[in-house]
């Protein structure tokens, strides 16, 4: 469990994290979302004791991170792909970290195998690709078999197979009852991964809700019919909110696909397409963060 209470970090005039209060619960994957510069990394650094908050507190399993006796046994973190010395081999890097927390040496080989780096374990990490570097970072996070995992953009630079692997791994870790916090600036990355979302914008909490709620709130159905005007009025009478798409299809909110099919049948309107719009998640995210993007390209 990670608890943030009025966490605030100010850099001179800029507020990176603004009175953030949120609890990250165990047993589920929590997606930590926000545009670049919204304060995700600063928040994670505060949790790990790397950065001192200007005000407020961050605790892990009830304690400030700096008071944890063997932190790697409690918390595993992937905070920055640069957090290694390029001149060291993967094995030496992991061994030094394991020794620093009095973890058994055998654990190093276990995590190397777990992330699939056996063939390059004795190569200098300076020559690693971004994807291999991410795997090394995940290996380091898992060294202490921790109860809490904080992963900052873990799939950045991973190939599709690697992304699938990370998703599966996070699911297993959460199902084992661990606390899993995964940050990303891309909503689409979270769609198949997270159970719960915490959304930041300019350092402030924009949303803290189950994935299903966000999906439900912005669910829409796309329906196409040669008798679109007839169907549209029937749907509106049934309480749906109907919009006409550019290609002539109808975008319906407030009614589910089954209800729309039944109404079409009762009205006698032929249906050529009937689909749930999954992209609404991305749209919901954009709607939430739209006003809070820190760096935006100037409109031309």
């Amino acid at each position: 469990m990670i608890e943030l209470r009025s966490l605030t970090k100010r850099y001179r005039s800029r507020v990176a994290v603004d009175a953030l209060t949120v609890t990250i619960e165990p047993g589920r994957v929590t997606g930590f979302l926000g545009p670049n510069g919204s304060g995700k990394t600063t928040t994670m650094r505060c949790v790990l004791g790397l950065t001192r908050p200007t005000a407020g507190t961050a605790t892990v399993l009830g304690h400030p991170y700096r008071e944890l006796a063997r932190p790697m046994r409690r918390v595993g973190a992937l905070i920055d792909p640069r957090a290694r010395h390029p001149g060291r081999t993967a094995r030496s890097h992991l061994l030094a970290l394991a020794q620093s927390n009095a973890l058994p040496r055998a654990r190093v080989d276990e995590v190397i195998e777990l992330v699939g780096l056996e063939s390059v374990a004795d190569d200098r990490v300076g020559g690693f690709s971004l994807g291999m570097g991410q795997r090394l970072g995940i290996a380091a996070a898992l060294l202490g078999d921790p109860d809490v995992l904080l992963l900052d953009e873990p799939v950045n630079g991973l190939e599709p197979e690697g992304i699938r692997w990370v998703r599966g791994l996070l699911r297993v870790l959460a199902d084992e009852g661990r606390t899993v916090l995964v940050s990303s600036h891309l909503m689409s990355e979270m769609e198949d991964t997270a159970d719960h979302l915490v959304v930041l914008g300019r350092g402030r909490l924009l949303a803290d809700l189950p994935m299903a709620d966000l999906l439900g709130a912005h669910a829409a159905v796309r329906v196409r019919s040669p008798q679109a005007p007839l169907l549209a009025s029937a749907l509106q009478r049934a309480g749906g909110h109907v919009e006409l798409e550019i290609d002539g299809a109808l975008k319906v909110e407030g009614l589910d696909a089954a209800a729309i099919g039944d109404i079409a049948f009762a009205t006698g309107a032929r249906v050529h397409e009937l689909a749930r719009i999954t992209a609404s998640l991305e749209a919901a995210y954009l709607e939430l963060t739209g006003d809070d993007v820190e760096y935006r390209a100037a409109p031309r």
Binding site: L50, T51, R52, H63, L68, A83, A96, L97, Q99, S100
Partner: protein, 249 residues
């Protein structure tokens, strides 16, 4: 909550970090080469000496240059972590940063003692072979023991001072610049100034070879010399440790 990590585990971790970098072995080889060759040369050009400690003193000349390498080694042990980003992993795994710095210091200091004492013995051997002293140069001679011991202590304290500057300044260029300035330039500059102020200040400037340096603004006893160098090393280290614990990464 589980017990804390034993200090020896931190030392083991720091030793793994140090031995797994090529720069460690380059610095080690260069240090051995420069001081060893300097010792042999110093002994060879000193045909005879009136006392055993003076003969050994000539053979130890190489330390004056060789400690440049030791300074680079000790500075990089800290600043290398900041330069690469490794420090994020180090501070996350060991949030008690003062303890981490202490473990690193132990490893660096032990390495300095091992290398420097081996070299000191080699220099003693070279002096015995190449410099004539009536009655020989026994290792049991108090003057010889003092010369060798002070040199090993001075080299090690130089390393600790450089490491402390690394923790204080975090940048390789900055820490190396300040180290060289304090250790290699201040004394010659004060000597050149030939003022009484320079002499007074010189008393409190750390010297590489404690009383045996080629360019000293002022000659001091080895006891005072070690005290000055030791104080600089401890003060810098403590300041570095305090700042390390309080600053964000």
């Amino acid at each position: 909550m589980t017990r804390g990590v034993p200090f020896r585990s931190l030392v083991a971790s720091e030793w793994t970090k140090l031995r797994s970098l090529r720069s460690t072995w380059w610095c080690t080889a260069l240090y051995l080469l420069v001081v060893g060759a300097g010792g042999w040369f110093g002994a060879a050009i000193t045909q005879s000496a009136p006392q055993p400690d003076l003969a050994v003193g000539s053979a130890l000349t190489g330390f004056g240059f060789g400690q440049i390498v030791l300074v680079v080694f000790a500075v990089l042990a800290v600043t290398g972590e900041f330069r690469t980003g490794m420090v994020l992993a180090s501070f996350t795994s060991v949030p008690r940063r003062g303890r981490l710095l202490l473990a690193k210091t132990v490893v660096v200091a032990v390495w300095c003692v091992l290398l420097s004492s081996s070299l000191a013995l080699f220099c003693w051997f070279a002096a015995g072979r190449l410099t004539y002293v009536e009655g020989g140069i026994p290792l049991t001679d108090p003057g010889v023991v003092r010369q060798l011991g002070v040199q090993v202590a001075a080299a090690t304290l130089t390393g600790v001072l450089a490491l402390g500057l690394g923790a204080l300044l975090r940048s390789s260029a900055g820490a190396l610049g300040v180290s060289f300035g304090v250790l290699f330039l201040l004394h010659p500059l004060l000597a050149i100034s030939e003022t009484s102020a320079g002499e007074r200040i010189g008393r409190f400037v750390p010297a590489l070879r404690v009383g045996e340096d080629a360019f000293l603004a002022v000659q001091t006893t080895w006891q005072l010399g070690l005290l000055v160098l030791g104080s600089w090393a401890v003060a810098t280290w403590v300041l570095g440790a305090v700042l390390l614990a309080h600053r964000d990464v």
